[in-house]
Amino acid sequence: MSPLQFCLLLSSLLFCLGLLGALARSNTILVLLGIELMLNAANLNLIAFWRYGPHPAIGTGVIFVLFTIAVAAAEAAVGLAFVIAVHRHRRSVRLQEASQLKG
């Protein structure tokens, strides 16, 4: 098994862990954290492909990861702000309870 494959397996495992958290946990914060984990798994992939790709000299993967980190940070900030706002209005952080938006 080549190191690249190992890295990909690692990232996919991490991704599934994040997905599991996002699906199974009822606390909104944890759901957000799971999503963060998935993002990190994606970054892991990017770095792995950059490292083992044909030309590691071209820093595309690295740049991509940097941008992803920035976006992830923004996402975390806004998401948690939403959690706080929701909690202030209806004293609960359970995701399934925030469900007025339905047809």
Binding site: S2, Q5, L19, G21, P56, A73
Partner: protein, 169 residues
């Protein structure tokens, strides 16, 4: 592959799994920070110095703080309520779906011919090069990200701030 990589993988996965399963919110948040630190270590191992430190600075330094503050701001009493059926059901469904995804991913990874030869010993990318890339071909993206971050942070403040009495429902 080296022992270091194996150790890093173990740290990341262990921390992440524990975080996702722990009943104590604070613990899972801190464990996640551990996982992020592990990911930073992975970047170091892969030779992406700058990204590793950026990851540490952003996640271990900043995001973790936001998370912890959020947790403390939205805490309600002791988190040891009995788990009711609904959440069991959700957990099982989640396991099934996540397992499915994992299976598919594993299948595709194992099935695809990825046995590329290792390139010459990890040639990390210097900060100089990164800076040139950032300011050269990727400058527009950098600008856009900057605007995005500004807008996101302002929005976060506006959303999270205590709103005036007149517009509370």
């Amino acid at each position: 592959m080296t022992i270091a990589l194996l150790l890093i993988a173990l740290v990341i996965l262990g921390a992440a799994a524990a975080a996702m399963l722990s009943r104590n919110l604070i613990h899972s948040a801190l464990l996640l920070v551990g996982a992020w630190a592990g990911i930073a270590a992975f970047y170091l191992w892969a030779g992406a110095e700058f990204v590793a430190f950026a990851q540490a600075l952003v996640y271990v330094g900043a995001v973790s703080m936001v998370v912890l503050f959020a947790v403390l701001l939205t805490r309600q009493g002791a988190t040891s309520a009995p788990v009711e059926f609904a959440s069991w059901r959700r957990a099982v469904l989640g396991l099934v779906v996540a397992g499915g995804v994992m299976g598919v991913l594993f299948g595709s990874i194992m099935g695809s011919p990825l046995d590329v030869r290792l390139p010459a010993p990890p040639t990390g990318i210097s900060v100089q090069q990164l800076g040139l890339l950032m300011m050269g071909p990727y400058a527009p993206a950098l600008l856009i990200v900057g605007v995005l971050l500004t807008v996101a942070l302002l929005g976060a403040i506006v959303i999270a701030a205590v709103d005036k009495p007149e517009d509370t429902p």
